[in-house]
């Protein structure tokens, strides 16, 4: 049978591809610290499940294609509290940030198109872009300069006739980079001058640790046609299984096209949207402060633990809940196989997301890994300690 050449160019997720080996290790009784997936252990605010438990109708019927009104209104109020004026028509409810990206790319990309993305980047962008026939054109960054990318010098040389959009994650996954107001303006100017969509994935908006105010590219009223914000309740409310996100854009033509796909797939899940509405309605600034403080403690703990491993290099993450780390090994994929199949320390081993999947160029990032700090401090400290011991054992074996 013949398959699409596009899907043949896609890969399994580097974040999830070791899932089968995880299961094997667990079957052998190993305790595996999972630093690979951004699955927070923080409680989903109980209002989410409470709202779903109170669902009153006897029929779990379709939601409207644009979204459940209560969810759209609650999201609109959330942006208004942050200082951004959007109408409910500027918001399209989606199955998480993932479907928001899929719908958007179906509207703006086709064969031969390019999307500029600073690398390292969230690997699922690659899958979503490739299935349209387009490709990522990476903007290289320097780990030694903290992976920063938002300058004309770094971006403009990569713009060509095929460029359709500039896609950024702010705060950054996997780098933790948080854009300054000046950097955001530079990106806005570039998008406007070159007539590009500026796609801003802001699902980690509140998770910033340097005293910055949560920000959004919605701040530029002159960029109404260019800016598309991708959002989700997953990380903000520790509700990754809820699958409620949104495309937010003031570009009417784009939202009209997006509605074709939204109507085609009928609706996003009714109950999750009802729960998400309750989250946006009831969460206070203190809630966000508490979550932020907890992740900041974790970030600090991971940083301190990493510094104890000889030979690791990393940039201090300012936001989100990941850190990209260069390990003193030849190949992080091979180390991961070793950690899951051969290594253990008092029954413990560890998983991360190997770094090469975060780069466009084959071979790049082979000695890097992404670590998600989504567990309690003591667990993270132990996990990083186990990683250090695993590296020692792996390198000792290599030398034999």
């Amino acid at each position: 049978m013949k398959f699409s050449s596009r899907i043949e160019a896609c890969s399994l997720s580097p974040i999830r591809k070791f899932g089968p080996y995880l299961a094997e290790a667990q079957a052998k009784g190993r305790n595996v610290y999972q630093l690979n997936i951004g699955q927070p252990d923080i409680e989903t605010p109980p209002v989410f499940l409470a709202a779903i438990r109170n669902y009153g109708s006897k029929v779990v019927g379709y939601a409207p294609s644009p979204g459940v009104n209560a969810y759209l209104e609650a999201a609109q109020e959330y942006y208004a509290r942050l200082g951004y004026e959007v109408s409910c028509d500027d918001i399209l409810a989606t199955y998480g940030g993932s479907e928001a990206l899929q719908i958007l790319f179906s509207c703006i990309l086709e064969d031969g198109d390019e999307v500029l993305v600073p690398e390292p980047y969230y690997p699922n962008y690659d899958t979503f872009i490739r299935v349209t026939g387009a490709t990522i054109h990476p903007i290289p960054t320097d780990p030694a300069k903290g992976y920063r990318f938002a300058t004309r010098e770094q971006i403009e040389p990569h713009i060509n006739a095929h460029t359709r959009a500039l896609l950024i994650t702010n705060p950054g996954n996997p780098t933790g980079v948080v854009l300054t107001p000046e950097e955001r303006r530079v990106l806005a100017d570039i998008a406007k001058e070159h007539n590009l969509f500026l796609i801003s994935d802001e699902v980690y908006r509140e998770l910033v640790y340097g005293g910055q105010k949560p920000s959004s590219m919605l701040e530029f009223p002159d960029l109404a046609e260019n800016v598309v914000v991708i959002d989700s309740v997953s990380k903000r409310f520790s509700a990754t299984g809820a699958r409620v996100g949104a495309i937010i854009s003031r570009n009417r033509e784009l939202m009209g096209h997006a509605m074709k796909i939204a109507q085609g797939r009928l609706c996003a899940t009714t109950l999750d949207q009802i729960g998400a509405a309750a989250l946006y309605r009831t969460m206070t600034p203190e809630y966000y402060d508490g979550v932020r403080a907890e992740y900041q403690r974790r970030r600090d703990a991971v940083e301190a633990a990493l510094r104890k491993i000889p030979g690791v290099q990393f940039a201090y993450p300012e936001g989100a809940f990941y850190v990209m780390v260069k390990l003193p090994v030849d190949d992080a994929d091979q180390l991961q196989y070793f950690l899951l199949q051969e290594f253990e320390d008092h029954g413990d081993t560890v998983m991360y997301a190997p770094g090469d999947g975060f780069y466009a160029e084959p071979g790049k990032g082979r000695d890097e890994v992404r670590i998600a700090y989504v567990n309690q401090v003591e667990k993270l400290q132990r996990a990083i300690e186990v990683l250090g011991l695993g590296i020692q054992a792996y390198n000792a074996r290599q030398k034999q």
Copy 2:
């Protein structure tokens, strides 16, 4: 800003495009009988919400990308009870049948490819296929011959070098056609001989009114590489807002490619899958019998009511819960505007899905409509009566 030429070729859903006019009519106090959308009024079995209410974890976390184990196992048992052996690895949990189609088409289609689909067909197929750059190649059918399509004579002349798949809906939406065992074998033979995917959308499997046994294209073990079944809990369990479906295929390469996209979008919604597992686990043959009997009463009532309208033509639907009807009017779209904006009888008016969206060729089906019989018998009778009065008034106005 530049958009994809593919999305520009897509349309809004003919089933949902009158949504704004519905809202206007309702704001004027009209009671609108909605025969356009397949949104059943039958109660979602309470085990669905009960299972979700009992969700024990404090964190609504990601599900595994292939699906929640309990859901996959319950679905596997459901197919086994029907007589079809599939492994859990042959099932991929999706956001309803819609995402199952989207993922599948991303795996097998690209620019220039064609999918054979008997027309009239479910219009959202067109959107999902067009965004890949492929197109529907329609297999014409004859309303006077009950829209039947499963013969070599009707299908084989349309196969060419671009044909990748044959897509059928069985029982049929919008036609109500239910394939005979002999017809299913003909389709299987054609797919095998011409090396095509045979995509069988079976979301209405149990809704058959001629004493047939619920069937599936999974019945052909020799078609393991070709057959892909699309399924969903939406219609079977009256849970359209639950958004839980599946791709079922024994083609390992296909399922491997599908997993790339499944991992990319992380997972289908966790809570809905837990509810869906409870549905498949606890629903008895008596449940399906009861639902089938209720829809059969409704079909019979709609048929009797339609026969009272002078000039309508339709084929007796054997399955699903739709009937395709040719109306004695020039343009069903114009009639729909009239019904929502100008007409009322004792405050009542009616909506349907205009027929042209169910055909590939522009202009075809312009005097046809799809009626969904998903309401109580008395409501359906009144709705069809109102439709008849509306047609009279519309035609009288046209003649002025």
